[in-house]
């Protein structure tokens, strides 16, 4: 009797310790270690093994597509729930990164090894510059402008017949090796997923969350809001441009459909369904939605209607999302002892 009492009391005290030392866990047992790391290990291992489990090359490509959308969803979630800026035009980032890569590859002859990093950074710079004017303004402006840019750019490319016009830019190199092609993007997703989680929990992320919550107080503390929002937009657009650069090398083609609506709405749907604000949720959402989207390919643009309706349903009726619900349940499992 006394032993279990002592055990429970220790666990009660431990709980307080864990609260106080966020991020540093006093690991008292193997069980705790496993409890903390298991979900992450499953995620990492799962992602790395996945390509081997896929029956055909078609489905292996689907994994790549999933990862592209996962990066976009990450960028959306970060901007929307950690900074308060809703980006309705993920296609803008993909398109910028994609076209930039296409130009670098076809006009300058650079290999994918170089085009992807350059396109990521320069694409992010271009996107941030174009979005810069609406950063000091209310959040609505950002949403509206991000909505407009992909639609407008598509029309401008078509109207002026630049950058390949309606035919697009063809003849882009693909990756040297199929395994590089496959694992590059998976590693990128993992890198950014865990990287963003760290950023968000560090002080920088704290300031960004504060900006979202209560920007007047942040200004009263002597911090320039526009500066931090710019940093956040830069990071987000870098993710999107990276995804776009990869996409273009995957398909060896860049065209108007690089600005397609899919890239704008699916990340939003993935985030809302997967669990906004958790950063893992959007990735999960992408894993759910993209395969479904592939299966629905015959239905043409009905897919988009499908996403839109699901998105609407979730956001209006059950805006929690799977991951948030799951996290809650998982933490409830933690203590199997009665206290």
């Amino acid at each position: 009797m006394n032993a279990t009492h002592a055990q429970r009391r220790r666990e009660r005290l431990d709980r307080g310790l864990k609260v106080r030392s966020e991020g540093i866990y006093a690991l008292m047992s193997w069980r705790e270690l496993v409890y903390l790391t298991l979900p992450r290990l499953i995620l990492i291992a799962g992602l790395l093994i996945l390509p081997f489990l896929m029956p055909t090359a078609y489905w292996q490509r689907v994994i790549s597509i999933v990862c592209i959308y996962a990066l976009l969803a990450l960028s959306f979630d970060f901007l929307a729930h950690f900074v308060g800026l809703v980006s309705l035009g993920g296609a803008f980032f993909i398109g910028t990164g994609g076209y930039l890569t296409a130009i670098l590859n076809t006009s300058f002859g650079l290999p994918p090894l170089l085009t992807i990093p350059i396109a990521t950074v320069f694409g992010a710079v271009i996107c941030t510059l174009l979005l810069l004017p609406c950063l000091p303004l209310r959040g609505v402006y950002f949403a509206i402008v991000t909505l407009m840019y992909p639609l407008l750019l598509m029309r401008v490319i078509e109207a002026l017949d630049i950058l390949g016009g309606t035919d697009g830019i063809v003849g882009i190199d693909s990756f040297a090796n199929r395994w590089i092609e496959q694992y590059f993007i998976i590693c990128m997703v993992l890198l950014f997923l865990f990287g963003m989680r760290r950023v968000v929990n560090q002080d920088l992320g704290l300031v960004l969350r504060a900006v979202k919550d209560n920007d007047q107080a942040v200004r009263a503390s002597g911090i320039s809001i526009t500066y931090y929002k710019t940093i956040a937009v830069f990071i987000s657009s870098a993710m999107g441009c990276l995804a776009g650069a990869y996409l273009v090398h995957l398909y060896m083609w860049a065209g108007l459909s690089t600005f397609a609506l899919d890239f704008s709405i699916l990340p939003i749907a993935a985030t809302v369904i997967g669990g906004a604000g958790t950063l893992v949720g959007p990735v999960l959402g992408a894993f759910i939605l993209v395969p479904i989207s592939e299966l629905l390919r015959e239905f043409g643009t009905l897919r988009i209607v499908f996403y839109a309706i699901i998105l609407l349903a979730f956001i209006v009726f059950r805006s929690e999302g799977i991951m948030v619900y799951g996290q809650r349940k998982y933490h409830q499992f933690e203590k199997w002892t009665k206290v």
Binding site: G16, V19, R20, D203, L204, L206, V207, R209, A210, D213, N214, Q216, A217, V218, R219, A220, S221, G222, I223, S224, I225
Partner: protein, 264 residues
């Protein structure tokens, strides 16, 4: 009281109109280093608007504000805060979703805190979490308890008010404009705030305190200024101000003063 040094802050003929309404009309005063200036006046007299204008949250229609002789009016609020002129908010604005001590990490992250080392940071800024708990302790958040770790949305008003002040202190300020820090506090909480305010003055921080609780204010303030309908009525010591007829009228209305006078 006033030394031969030039005033720290000079507010010259500040006017602010909203449409046709004069929230502030030609208000001027000087603030000397190391003093506590109390600003009082009935509700709606423009006190908070004055704070907003000085700290740059609202653009003034006319007039200027000089800090150490240099013009600061028209600058962005974060630049003004960066110079060491901080403020609390009358309608409290904590970061509700963050724990109390994380609320302070944000001002400690600002350029000013990084430059000047934060309050009591003494130059090299240590771990921000530790420093923020130190600052909270100075303001009465018991260190060993769970209080500093609670989410701000779960804390009572008294703690939140003090956290507002703590946020200013984290910036190592030269001037703090306190917008009604005593309101909403219980008598015991105020009793612990007054020595804190006095201690801040001893450390060399200049304070402007906007208050409704006159008794406590008069105990700490060196000078009092009265605002009514956006205009400065009078400036002077507490006794001078309270003896003035116009001040009594402003607070109580002229009819009541007459009645009181008639029955006296």
């Amino acid at each position: 009281m006033s030394s031969t040094k030039p005033p720290l802050l000079q507010v010259n003929q500040v006017t602010k109109t909203f449409g046709g309404i004069f929230a502030l009309n030609d208000v001027s005063f000087d603030l000397h280093e190391g003093e506590i200036l109390g600003i009082i006046g009935p509700n709606g007299s423009g006190k908070t608007t004055l704070v907003n204008c000085i700290t740059g949250f609202i653009e003034m229609t006319a007039g200027e504000v000089l800090y150490r002789g240099k013009k600061i009016s028209g600058k962005a609020p974060h630049k003004i805060a960066d110079m060491g002129i901080t403020r609390t908010f009358q309608i409290m604005r904590p970061y509700y979703s963050l724990p109390a001590y994380k609320n302070l990490v944000i001002p400690l992250f600002s350029p000013r805190a990084k430059r000047t080392g934060g309050w009591r940071g003494g130059g090299k800024l240590g771990d921000r979490n530790t420093v923020s708990i130190d600052i909270l302790e100075e303001l009465g958040f018991e260190r060993e308890s769970f209080v500093p770790y609670k989410k701000a949305s779960n804390l009572p008003t008294g703690y939140l008010k003090r956290m507002e002040l703590a946020r200013c202190l984290a910036l190592n300020p030269k001037i703090i404009l306190c917008d009604e820090v005593f309101s909403g506090l219980s008598m015991s909480e105020i009793a612990s705030m007054v020595p804190l305010v006095e201690r801040l003055q001893m450390e060399g921080i200049t304070l402007i305190m906007i208050e409704h609780r006159l008794r406590e204010l008069f105990r700490v303030a060196n000078r009092i200024m009265v605002l009514n309908f956006g205009e400065k009525l009078i400036e002077g010591t507490a006794e001078e101000v309270m003896a003035d007829e116009r001040v009594k009228e402003a607070y109580f209305g002229s009819q009541e003063v007459e009645e009181v006078m008639a029955h006296a």
